[in-house]
């Protein structure tokens, strides 16, 4: 491409990038404004000072630390649970021959075809029967299992050579040992991709927490923030400060694990 062509491409991409990042910049700027500054006409673009007290107010106005802990702990549990359970099942489906294997795999896979709304009501009733409403258990336990994760990791295990388990079998290892010692480490990139997806879904999920947990002390950040919006509807500096703190961990994770993110998505998109 020639020089002008490249310049035009850059200009288009920069304009697009501004549109993509603009709302984030506005979020940051607003989070430092005073309430008065945020509602001035003509608008204040740069706040007159860095008002960190807006961030402090987030913690004093509502149980933000509790929201944070609820989101963080349930997300960690779901990531660990799914990566472990899915990879174990994926190994068995990919590398062991047993009666009913294909049927059971299809059964698990079939859930991917179904929109979650089609089973969410009985799932909620089950939580109620178990006495799990307004507990972190309700947020966590149904999220420990995943058809998507099992499918994704099965693909990984299928691509590994057979000599691996032959040697291990001769050494007298059982299948769990083969999985644990040999296959799991080899599927690390797949597991990281799954971990990223699970973390993102769990961190950002809204509908399920809204349904099962109405007590503010058991809400994750997403549900907490959305109820907050109702109470502090026009206090945008406060809402922006809260939002920024809520999204920071995922943005940080994305920036650090960017390549794994991109590979993971490409993986789900390839071979339609």
């Amino acid at each position: 491409m020639n020089k002008t062509g490249r310049l035009v491409v850059h200009l288009i991409l920069i304009a697009g990038a501004l549109l993509m990042v603009g709302p984030f910049i506005w979020m940051i700027l607003t989070s430092f404004m005073s309430l008065g500054e945020s509602t001035r006409v003509p608008p204040v673009i740069i706040p007159s000072e860095l008002r960190w007290q807006n961030y402090l107010r987030v913690f004093t106005s509502f149980p933000f630390l509790r929201f944070y802990w609820n989101t963080f702990s349930t997300t960690v549990a779901k990531v660990v649970g799914q990566v472990f359970f899915c990879s174990m099942a994926a190994y068995a489906f990919a590398r062991i021959r047993f009666p009913g294997r294909d049927f059971l795999f299809l059964l698990i896979l079939s859930v991917l075809m179904v929109p979650s709304q089609a089973y969410i009501i009985p799932r909620y009733l089950l939580m109620a029967d178990l006495g799990w409403l307004n507990t972190l258990t309700a947020l966590t336990v149904p999220g420990l299992f995943s058809s998507f994760g099992t499918f994704l990791l099965r693909q990984f295990f299928l691509s590994l050579p057979t000599e691996l388990e032959e040697a291990a079998t001769l050494d007298g290892c059982n299948h769990f040992q083969i999985y644990y010692k040999i296959f799991a480490p080899l599927a690390k990139s797949g597991m990281i991709a799954l971990a990223i997806f699970v973390a993102l879904w769990s961190w950002n999920d809204l509908m399920w927490p809204l349904i099962v947990n109405s007590s503010p002390l058991k809400m994750p950040l997403s549900a907490g923030l959305s109820t907050l919006q109702g109470q502090y509807g026009t206090d945008f500096p406060l809402l922006m400060a809260g939002s920024l703190m809520a999204i920071a961990p995922m943005i940080l994770m994305f920036i650090i694990l960017q390549n794994q993110f991109v590979e993971g998505i490409a993986l789900t998109g390839s071979k339609g």
């Binding site: 003509p42 489906f93 062991i96 991917l112 179904v114 709304q117 299948h175 509908m207 809402l239």
Partner: protein, 323 residues
Amino acid sequence: MSGLPMRGGPPKPFVDQEVRGKGVDDVSGINKKKLQDWFWAYLMIFPTLAGTIIFSIWPLLQSFYLSFTEWGAFGFYEWGGTVNFERMLGDSVLWQSLRNTLVFTVGSVPFGIALSIIVAVLLNTKIRGMSTYRTLYFLPVVTMPVAVAMVWRWLYNADFGLINHILRSVGITGPRWLTDPKYAMLSLIVVSVWSSIGYNMVIFLSGLQGISKQYYESADIDGANAFVKFFRITLPLLTPTIFFVTVTSLISSFQVFELIFTMIGINSPVIRHTQSIVFYFYRQAFVNMDKGYAAAISLVLFVVILGVTIVQFRLQKRWVHYE
């Protein structure tokens, strides 16, 4: 549980692969080694299998049952036959939600896909700073939808929002974006496109990288310009990826909920004009506590999504090129 652009996607074709490396076959068919294998296999799939059955498959079957029940006060319900399905036929609010969902889908999916293809093609030109651009375009994807909604509500704010400030500076009085029925849906579509571009762009980028350079080299020899190359090579060879993205985008668009819940809100005067079928489902199930009717709606949604997906797979022969 859903509505994120990332969620799921349709199951990929099930490719059965022989498990190689099985031991010497015993004549009787079953030997000790085999039994051990089975034991470990069932043990290892047990958590996922049990979890899937308890939390998804069994509840799905219960939904079928619930859709034939009538719910009264205090959560009591009784067999109602097809009463819920009959009620759906005459429920104009439900039909409007379905229409809103279609408008939202038609407004956001093609537009979002076109924009993400353009960005991906531009990024694929070996341009400097490619990964920086990619990061910036991807940011909305990792951002909590509630926070996205919050900042866009602020931007759309009729009196003090940045968008109307900018419009005012060029002499236009901006509308009340989120409370005027004429603009509310458009506002939602814009945010939806904004937050999905990055995700689709990454999929398109990997699709583009799979296109052999030879095609472009021979096109260069023929003296083809960039537009010819785009329409004659890039676009046709990208159709499998476009197909995949279309299928997944339509599925998640049909399930839109969070955006409406957080940007419009259940008490808004325009909720009738913007609520999606999943939003209406949520209302019936968890606000009006009419779980039988809601279950029926969820099953109709399931059938609609399944139908649309099947139609797409049928139609793919007409436009998707597989090498």
